[in-house]
């Protein structure tokens, strides 16, 4: 029977490690890396095993405390959540190498607090993707939020202000979500998602269900920074300590998008969600606007990290739009993009971390000639940039492919155009940087010899995960077919 608890160990391993880090880290700082990485390796191994089990035996339903489902809290690990579990632990593991290094530099003496919050955040994310209970989801959402408030506020300068903004926006989001859950509860009398899905079709309360859905969605949109509710995100992620940004930026928004998919697929039926064509196309329009605006705002930034945060905002538009296209291709693209975007963002934020570790800033002007100082880092950056632009065979291309295909199929040309335009803007954005880093300082139109600026790569701990991620971008791209056949196509409901 113990093997059926495997997914619980995935969640518990970072959680327990967090407590140990908190206690032990006060006395011996050297134990922290081992604990962090060890627990995440365990979690990753467990997650892989869970995914394998799910592929073999189908979705796993589990009730905490051994109560029959609507009474106890049910956890559901299906193909989608198994995949997310692997994604989260993998990204967290890769990011933690870099975080260990940058926290050592930026927050000396506070490592144990940092990594306590960090590990709990990961545990919370793991819990989020497994849960099948609407209220449990709220609690876990708050765990991830509170830990990220803390992590972000640990930064310097404007970080507390950004964190406070995030607290206010995040609380509004969580409260809205809770209101939605409350409405669902009063209508159906249950909190279990599968149970709600069972009851809803027989329920004659169109107004209240629509209101509940609206609040659930708006709440999650705030949390995922869907334009125009994105205000908190750029500041929060660009002022956070580097180590926090590296992990939070790839995962937080993506997991929230996952939650949206989960609610749409497991709590409501697709017929409910896509019932009103006006609302559906309205959201796709909003997503198109989000994509364009996010990209344009990214254009105005003078700092690499800030630019990336605005790109995240645009990418959220991709996913929300893809989901609300209401066809299989759009949904496939959106789910695929969750994975791809997490990896791409991770790659780029790792680059940012490496550069910050070496030269303390990622202002665009400071990137001049970086190809000579940090060639490997910039090579990885180039691959990440290609993925963002959507150059095959990097993974970014394939999700974009499905999204555009979905747009074409649904006849939402504005979404297609937005995707293409944003790809183009991304191309300009990233090539501006690549050019800057490739050419270095041009004084009087002449190129300066870069013999003076010697190679100065970041250390092993920062570089190796970066390389791994860059390779992953291509591997995942080439493995798109496998991913879709074995995982994503099984998630999409029939008749879709």
């Amino acid at each position: 029977m113990t093997s059926s608890n495997l997914h619980m160990y995935v969640m518990a391993s970072p959680l327990v490690a967090a407590l140990i880090v908190n206690l032990l880290g006060r006395f011996s700082r050297r134990s922290i890396p081992w604990l962090v990485i060890g627990s995440l390796v365990v979690a990753l191994g467990g997650a892989l095993a869970v995914l394998a089990a799910v592929i073999d035996h189908g979705p796993l339903r589990y009730t905490v405390g051994n109560w029959t489902p609507p009474y106890g809290i049910e956890l559901v690990v299906d193909h989608l959540s198994g995949m997310m579990l692997v994604l989260i632990t993998l990204v967290a593991l890769i990011a933690s190498f870099s975080s260990l290094k940058s926290v050592e530099q930026e927050l000396p003496g506070e490592e144990h607090f940092f990594f306590t919050l960090y590990l709990i955040l990961i545990a919370g994310l793991c819990g989020l993707v497994m849960t099948g209970d609407a209220f449990n989801l709220y609690v876990l959402l708050e765990i991830t939020s509170i830990t990220s408030y803390g992590l972000i506020a640990m930064g310097r300068g404007r970080a507390p202000l950004s964190s406070f903004n995030y607290i206010i926006m995040g609380s509004i989001g969580a409260c809205f979500y809770l209101l939605g859950v409350g409405y669902m509860y009063i209508l159906t009398g249950t909190l279990n998602m599968a149970d709600i899905a069972r009851i809803l079709p027989n329920l004659n309360a169109p107004v209240a269900t629509a209101t509940a859905l609206g609040f659930l969605m708006v709440g999650l949109w705030i949390k995922m920074a869907f334009f125009p509710l994105h205000g908190w995100l750029p500041n929060a992620y660009s002022h956070a300590p580097t180590g926090a940004g590296t992990m939070a930026a790839p995962l937080m928004t993506k997991v929230t998008v996952y939650l949206m998919v989960r609610i749409i697929l497991s709590m409501y039926t697709p017929e409910h969600i896509y019932a009103s064509a006006a609302v559906k196309s309205g959201i796709v329009w909003a997503a198109a606007v989000a994509i364009i605006c996010g990209s344009i705002l990214a254009f105005g930034q003078k700092d690499l990290r800030r630019m990336l945060t605005y790109i995240i905002v645009a990418e959220v538009g991709y996913m929300v739009g893809g989901i609300f296209l209401g066809n299989a291709n759009g949904l496939t693209g959106a789910i695929l993009h969750i994975i791809n975007d997490a990896l791409m963002t991770l790659c780029l934020f790792l680059v940012v971390a490496a550069i910050i570790y070496r030269q303390g800033t990622v202002a665009l002007v400071s990137l001049q000639g970086l190809f000579y100082r940090m060639p490997l880092t910039m090579a990885a950056f180039t691959i990440g940039a290609f993925a963002m632009i959507g150059v095959p065979p990097t993974c970014g291309f394939f999700s974009k492919w499905y999204l555009i295909l979905g747009g074409v199929e649904a006849g939402h040309w504005e979404f297609v155009i937005a995707l293409v335009v944003s790809s183009l803007i991304n191309a300009v954005l990233f090539f501006r940087i690549i050019e800057l880093a490739y050419f270095g300082a041009l004084v009087d139109g002449e190129h300066h010899e870069h013999a003076a600026s010697e190679r100065h790569e970041a250390s092993f701990w920062l570089l190796k995960p970066l390389m791994v991620t860059a390779v992953l971008l291509i591997v995942v791209g080439l493995g798109t077919g496998v991913l879709i056949d074995n995982l994503i196509s099984l998630v999409i409901p029939a008749g879709f």
Partner: protein, 129 residues
């Protein structure tokens, strides 16, 4: 008219909760003082708690602590006991609320240290400079 009045009377708790929620929500997005925003957040949360607790109320219901022996015998009429589930949920929500408040207050102190004020517009002015 009669119907509307009846509607209001039947659901006056919801009205109050909506009003409280609006007060809190307005404070969160409309007030410039950061502490006020935070107080607004707390009011918002209590409003939601009020809403949830209201859902668990049964007319003529008693508090959800039962007599152990009649419980064991299984002779309790569920209609006479208030629904305990919303209470449980709201206990959690209160804890979450106070946790967020604590973190926010700590962050506020850092902000005050940095900018010497808690007014949003004054802070933004200082940031821009």
């Amino acid at each position: 008219m009669e119907q509307i009045v009846q509607e209001i009377v039947a659901k006056y708790n919801y009205w109050v909760y909506v009003i409280l929620m609006m007060i809190g929500f307005y404070a969160m997005i409309g007030k410039r003082n950061l502490v006020k925003k935070l107080l607004g957040m707390n009011i918002f949360q209590t409003a939601i708690i009020l809403f949830f607790v209201s859902t668990g109320v049964k007319k003529g219901g008693r508090i959800p602590i039962v007599d152990k022996y009649s419980g064991l015998a299984g002779t309790i009429d569920p209609n006479t006991i208030d629904n305990p589930l919303p209470h449980v949920l709201m206990l959690t929500a209160i804890v979450v609320g106070v946790s967020v408040t604590g973190v926010a207050l700590a962050v506020l102190q850092r902000i005050y240290r940095e900018y010497g004020t808690l007014e949003e517009n004054e802070i933004l002015e200082k940031v821009r400079r």
